[in-house]
Chain length 338, copies 2
């Protein structure tokens, strides 16, 4: 049996392009004991993947040239040598961008029928879990009084909009930053953000943030890095927290950018800047998923999916990824290949 | 009754010089109820004061031109309208650089006879308390296994050497960075640091730190900021912590310096960069002081004082401050004016 898989053709320099990816056909070996063969159906495409494509060494093992690209996905079991899985089971896990892949059953989890593939990849996937753990475990939002201000950059992205919705559920004043009027009006009118700034038309962004946060910032959710981080650092209140989630502004940068050294603000205001990944809180995933699904069922949390239907063409995954990075997306980008 | 006091003559630009300070003679008003009049005897001069002289707004109210400069000091009560204090009591508090000052009694504390002025201003003053709270409350050193690596910049300074000594008491591998061979040999031979780097002669500082920290860094105590911070960020282990204590390298900078944007390392390695001031942990000062005095009495902690005896000349305080900033000091700088 063979499979089609997307390989990294080259480490992207600047914005990724089609030619940074290529399709390969590979023979699949016989399934080993404990393994499961999955047919790929839904793939999550996320900004953090850009970092893994750059070839620089981080905690994430980066993607290698001529090796598969992988992200979170949902698929269907087509063969199983693992006692917990049977043909036809819907499973979620970290998958190669391929129409089929063989995976250790221990690295999968089965979806309950009530949870759609889209929900598995967004609200109870890394998107929702990142928002939840970032706010409650890293930001320790619950320790702060209601009415404190949460500022979110990349607010219309997959994680950003969920962060804002959860912060609203908890009674915070929520200010978002996004890059189009469509996005700002969605965040404000549909999701109930208190203020949203279009950074492309705001003029002086520092002054715009300052005006939108008259009581300063208590928690800054950083999806973008760069100058927005500098502004936030200056406007954070004493004991403020930066939840360091992403650095979209630099993912495509060819050289490390320079910025002002502002760590003296961290000292004088007793600030905390902290990074994390979802798996730091692996033991709490079941509890978090339950809370998130509850909010979704109650209608307190809205799920915004940008679904790309590639009709069997696995090259639709890198295409959707490139489009997502361009900033056109509203909410979570998911590719359905079958 | 009149007093002599050191005023800030101008916000220093670059390195402070004598002409940034001047002496004024002021008449003292009659003491108000609740106030205590103190004769100034010992003054602590510390790098953070440079930040307060710059005129930029931080959490600290900065020093104003033509207003007194102040730091922690020890003196003797010469008049009291506060029930807790009598003439002759030795008291510590935040004092104007002056031969006499009137202060709210609630802002002082009385020294027990066993504690010398030097000890009150170093081991159980902000120096020792900064080291203690930074390591245990911010760095949460106790949660890490023995043998983890603590890197300290400005290691021969007042706080840095105490941080290293406490980390050694707790069983950590301690690596220091300092600016002269006298300092490195003191830290290594007298205080038991495992490795000490002379950054002025080390050549490639990144490689020198890497070689001295073969298992990476678990806690970086940052007294200096700048490139040393960049190096540490790259060498920190997963879940590593930066205790942001000072930014000596930029205190004299006229313009905000630029540095590489490296926050993606904070994200991918789940790092935490956190600032603090001693008063964030005010409630724990008695407990911390007890532990620190215990270590001092047992000989586990050594106190290194650079005492400047100015023989009644209060201008000796700014002179000692300027000298301390120049990097000549070993340990804690204290000025005795009487």
């Amino acid at each position: 049996m063979s499979r089609q898989v997307v390989l990294l053709a080259s480490h992207p320099v600047g914005e990724p392009k089609d030619s940074d990816f290529r399709i390969d056909t590979q023979e699949l070996a016989e399934l080993a004991d404990g393994q499961v063969r999955v047919e790929g159906q839904y793939f999550s495409v996320d900004p953090y993947l850009r970092g893994k494509m750059s070839g620089r060494t981080t905690y994430h093992a980066g993607f290698q040239v001529n090796a598969p690209v992988a992200s979170f996905g949902v698929g269907s079991v087509i063969e199983s040598k693992h006692p917990n899985y049977s043909v036809g089971d819907r499973v979620a896990g970290e998958y190669d961008w391929a129409d089929k892949f063989d995976v250790d059953g221990a690295k999968l989890h089965k979806l309950v029928p009530q949870v759609s593939a889209e929900t598995a990849l967004s609200i109870v996937g890394i998107t929702g879990l990142t928002a939840y753990f970032g706010l409650f475990e890293v930001g320790r939002l619950q320790e702060k009084p209601e009415g404190s201000t949460v500022l979110i950059s990349g607010a219309a992205g997959a994680t950003g909009n969920v962060v804002g919705q959860i912060a609203k559920i908890k009674g915070y004043r929520v200010v978002g930053i996004a890059g189009s009027d469509d996005k700002t009006s969605w965040l404000k009118n549909d999701l109930g953000f208190d203020e949203v700034i279009n950074y492309k038309t705001a003029g002086n962004l520092f002054e715009a943030i300052k005006a939108a946060c008259p009581n300063g910032i208590d928690l800054y959710w950083d999806n973008v890095g760069g100058e927005t981080y500098d502004h936030a650092l200056q406007l954070l209140n004493r004991f403020g927290v930066v939840v360091a989630c992403g650095a979209i502004s630099s993912y495509n940068a060819v050289e490390t950018e320079l910025g002002p050294r502002l760590n003296w603000l961290i000292i004088t205001k007793s600030l905390r800047v902290q990074g994390f990944i979802v798996m730091d809180f692996a033991a709490k995933i079941p509890e978090a998923s339950g809370v998130l699904l509850g909010w979704l069922a109650e209608g307190k949390l809205k799920q915004q999916i940008q679904l790309y239907n590639s009709e069997g063409d696995i090259f639709g995954i890198p295409k959707a990824f490139i489009k997502m990075l361009s900033g056109d997306n509203l909410g979570k980008s998911i590719v359905k290949i079958k």
